[in-house]
Amino acid sequence: METRVRLAVNGQAVDRIVDVRRSLSDFLRDDLGLTGTHVGCEHGVCGACTVLVEGQSARSCLLLAVQLDGAAVTTIEGLTPAAGLSPLQEAFRECHGLQCGFCTPGMIVVAHELLAHNAAPTTAEIREALAGNLCMCTGYVNIVRAVSRAARP
């Protein structure tokens, strides 16, 4: 079964006919070509697929595209400047807050959300905010450092 969905993705209007069983993550990646959103578990635990829906973090693997009708979605592509990197992305690079880079877009989305609400989080607050996202490479130490660095101008 298919239905029409109209939403804003990274500020661009999108109007598509989609299978009702299509997940938001598949819709973003396969229909819109926004492959920066990664899929790590497809059962809502790993957080790699995290995007912002109306400014709030959400697991795109647990949402259906049709649920997003009328909504505004922001992906890692929408958090990346046209030229260069955002201060948060720069901090991840400077601190080597990643290794394979597969969890990184989800981590940056969540960290972006945290810093939008709390400009100077403690490391405990950073760890709490990141606790819903799995990284298999870094042991989180450099990710916490990166978010701390981005928080301090």
């Binding site: 920066g36 990664h38 990643l98 597969f102 990141l130």
Partner: protein, 801 residues
């Protein structure tokens, strides 16, 4: 642009080139690639641990609109050859890419479908009708070692694929003259590093040339190409294999069977096909670190001096017909840890069970070897009334003894193990925390301090397989690289080892920049791997910690060939001796003559375009390939000594935990690592490796377990029940380093990828044990879940209930 004043680019904590694209979501991972007309693959997998497949009916699946091809085991057996094992069983077994007649673990592929999208393929899989006749399952490896339980392969006559006793030195005499013997039984669970990107491939068949092309996040492309050629019956020259960005590996990312299944589907459908595991498939069926049981006997003198070690080791291999007993061999190479133990006996059973195949997982076997040894040392210290650090210091191989060859043939090349431990105790504040622990205990709190130290080898020597197979099929550790100055003077490099998060694009650029007098930004390193352009060997790949100790030799060698050629061309054109020239700031310059010289661009013009300007007899072009063989690898000797792994780093971990007596929960309060991986090529990467590797050790110690029930069903097949550590579980790991370069590697570097995962479980276990020992608890198994702690406390003092 300028060369750094002292020491070159190698050794500097340069931020990573690849990180710039990865933080923006601009990596190119397997699932980001979608060739035109691609079909998507779903697999039907066995719900039974052990069953006879009486019938398969794919009619309804094939008839579903959108389905292009279906294959079953019978068709796989008819149109492909069995997968060649690295370590063959005594009686050859035909192991096809899909189960034929029997399913032998939950999750084993039975059939596969290619369809227009994954959802349609999964719909079709649900329409395949299989008639199973369930059989009793072998789930207990110890029972298998005793010759009990249902057989996976009646043709073998046993589930034991390897049993042997290896003896080095006068073991019986050592035990006879000992003042005491400590005997313990330890157990480790099945777990895995579970890279966040799952495993998969894209396969394409070219009917015009009868060739196959694969894109895959496979960590060992050299080996996989050999297996594909044999199983598909085509020459390697008609195969192409590419690796894109790989989202983590840790040894797990390999399964040639899946590439074969996809090749068969692609040939049948006449279209490219793509398969990517979902997480359940990944956890159920890709690869688990082998579980097992180890009996340790340590013979000692009253002063704590170790005289002998005797081990009986049972390894639960699951349905591993590819590399059974690999865990055993790797343990053998590390069996003495950092200690001087003159006499060693190792008796091992490698046992098939109806579980997911065991396989390479960060450290293969060494985490269990270290867990058993470091638990035994801690228990021995307690028995002798010695501090656990003191007992270790009395037994370490000393710096003066380096290079030191262990009784089993491993060569410890350099390092100062006592200094590593002392530095860790100092950084940790060992004396301070011992006082705090006593004070806390007085107020009813359970603090524990754990020490574990380890050696960390790098580079696998495949000659060691001869211990099991009795013949040599492959040997040594080697890798190949290419360096090329392009016609415009820019530099490109490629390596046969596709990285999965270790930053090779940056480190290789640092190495080449130093050799050619450039800035690392001027060196582009190829992403991933392409068998048609990357130099590679059968031994090529991203495994066994070998980059620092073997790959670096290939990069340095290729760069030096290019350097020498640049200098020869420049010398000819400048009419000056090559010895009077050096590569500096992007040019061949006259030593001591400021900027006089020729730029790489000018030299490249000569090499590629104005070739009459070349020295007489000089070959046009500026490209060099080099393959490096690690010099420490040797064949097995008459006494069955063999270095199964090579260059040795070392580390000391100190861990402080608090156990909550009400919940059994363990919290890591403080964690210090002091490690020595020789010369650090990029300290930013090295420190990240130590963090991540240690986190794997902590996960294995406290959380992760593939738990099977008595019938062989896997109970932990999602991240809801197979628990990975989060940012709240891993502490702010503190890292310090010593730096004793290896005399046997081109840049003095040693491996650093596994050093946290090896002693991590032991350090945490020793800390929990230290917190609970006075309550009568001894930690002998992993993982240390709250449930396990509760059971131990309960068993030690039921009246507390």
């Amino acid at each position: 642009m300028t060369h750094p004043a002292a020491g070159g680019w190698v050794g500097r904590p340069l931020p990573l080139k690849e990180d710039a694209r990865l933080v923006a979501g601009r990596g190119r991972f397997l699932d980001d690639l979608t060739p035109g007309r691609v079909l998507h693959v779903a697999m039907l997998r066995s719900p039974h641990p052990h069953a006879r497949i009486a019938a398969i009916d794919t009619t309804a699946a094939a008839a579903l609109p959108g389905v292009a091809a279906v294959v079953t085991g019978a068709e796989a057996a008819a149109s492909s050859r069995p997968i060649r094992p690295l370590i063959p069983t005594a009686v050859p077994l035909d192991d096809y890419c899909l189960a034929v007649e029997h399913a032998r673990f939950v999750g084993e592929p039975i059939a596969a479908v290619a369809a227009v999208d994954r959802a349609t393929a999964e719909d079709a899989v649900e329409r395949i009708e299989v008639t199973y006749e369930p059989l009793p399952a072998a789930v207990d490896a110890e029972a298998g070692a005793r010759g009990e339980g249902p057989l996976l392969y009646p043709a073998l006559g046993s589930n034991v694929v390897w049993h042997d006793t290896l003896t080095y030195g006068e073991v019986d005499a050592a035990f006879a003259r000992a003042d005491g013997v400590l005997e313990e039984r330890f157990e480790i669970q099945r777990y895995a590093s579970t890279p966040l990107e799952t495993f998969g491939c894209i396969a394409e068949y070219d009917a015009g040339t009868d060739g196959y092309a694969f894109v895959t996040n496979d960590q060992r492309p050299g080996l996989t190409l050999a297996i594909m050629a044999e199983s598909l019956g085509v020459p390697q020259a008609r195969l192409r294999l590419q690796c894109p960005d790989i989202g983590g590996g840790f040894g797990n990312k390999r399964r040639p069977a899946y590439l074969l299944i996809c090749a068969l589907l692609a040939r049948r459908a006449g279209r490219p096909v793509k398969f990517l595991e979902d997480r359940r498939e990944n956890l159920t069926a890709l690869m688990h670190a082998a579980g097992g049981v180890m009996h340790v006997a340590l013979a000692y003198r009253a002063d704590g001096t170790l005289l002998g070690l005797s081990i009986r080791d049972v390894t639960d291999e699951g349905k591993n017909l590819v590399s059974p007993a690999q865990h055993n061999l790797i343990k053998l190479g590390n069996i003495a840890n950092g200690y001087r133990i003159p006499a060693i006996r190792y008796e091992a059973w490698s046992v098939l069970t109806n579980k997911c195949p065991s396989g390479a997982n960060r450290g293969i076997g060494k985490p269990f070897m270290c867990f058993a040894m470091e638990r035994a040392m801690t228990l021995l210290a307690r028995r002798l009334g010695l501090d656990p650090a003191e007992l270790r210091l009395r037994n370490y191989v000393s710096a003066a003894e380096m290079p030191y060859t262990t009784p089993t043939g491993s060569q410890y090349d350099s390092g100062d193990y006592p200094a590593t431990l002392r530095a860790a105790l100092e950084r940790f504040g060992y004396a301070h925390w011992r006082r705090e622990q006593a004070a806390a205990r007085a107020s009813g709190r359970l603090l524990g301090i754990g020490i574990a130290t380890s050696v960390e080898p790098a580079g696998t020597n495949l000659a060691s397989y001869e211990i099991i197979t009795g013949r040599r099929a492959a040997s040594g550790s080697a890798e190949a690289a290419m360096v090329r100055v392009e016609p415009d003077g820019q530099v490109r490099a490629a390596l046969g080892d596709p990285p999965s998060g270790q930053g090779y694009e940056t480190v290789v650029a640092q190495i080449v920049a130093d050799e050619l007098g450039l800035h690392p930004d001027q060196v582009s390193v190829a992403r991933g791997f392409d068998s048609t352009t990357t130099p590679w060997l059968y031994l090529s790949g991203n495994y066994s910690n070998k980059f620092s100790v073997t790959d670096t030799g290939a990069v340095v060698g290729a760069a030096r060939r290019v350097r020498d050629k640049l200098l020869r061309i420049a010398a000819h054109r400048l009419e000056i001796a090559a010895a009077d020239l050096e590569l500096r700031d992007g040019a061949a310059r006259v030593r001591g003559a400021g900027d006089r010289g020729l730029t790489l661009r000018e030299l490249a013009r000569t090499a590629y375009a104005d070739v009459l300007g070349l020295p007489p007899g000089e070959e046009p072009g500026l490209e060099a390939r080099h393959a490096h063989q690690n010099p420490l690898a040797r064949p097995i000797d008459a006494a069955r000594r063999v270095p199964s792994q090579l260059v040795f780093a070392n580390a000391a971990h100190c861990c402080l935990v608090e156990v909550d007596p009400a919940t059994g929960g363990v919290r890591i309060v403080k964690y210090v690592v002091v490690h020595d991986c020789g010369r650090e090529l990029n300290p930013l990467i090295v420190e990240g490796m130590v963090h991540g590797s240690t986190a794997h050790g902590i996960g294995a110690a406290l959380l992760e377990e593939f738990r099977y029930d008595a019938s062989g069903q896997l109970l932990t097949s999602t991240f809801m029940d197979y628990l990975k550590p989060t940012a709240l579980d891993i502490p702010d790991i503190e890292v310090d380093r010593l730096e004793h370069p290896s005399p046997f590697t081109p840049l003095g570097a040693k491996g650093v990828g596994e050093g946290g995962a090896i002693p991590g479980p032991a350090a945490v276990a020793n800390a929990v044990d230290d917190a609970l020992a006075h309550l009568g608890v001894t930690v002998r198994s992993l993982p240390i879940t709250p449930d396990a702690v509760w059971r131990w406390l309960d068993a030690s003092a039921p009246e507390r209930r």
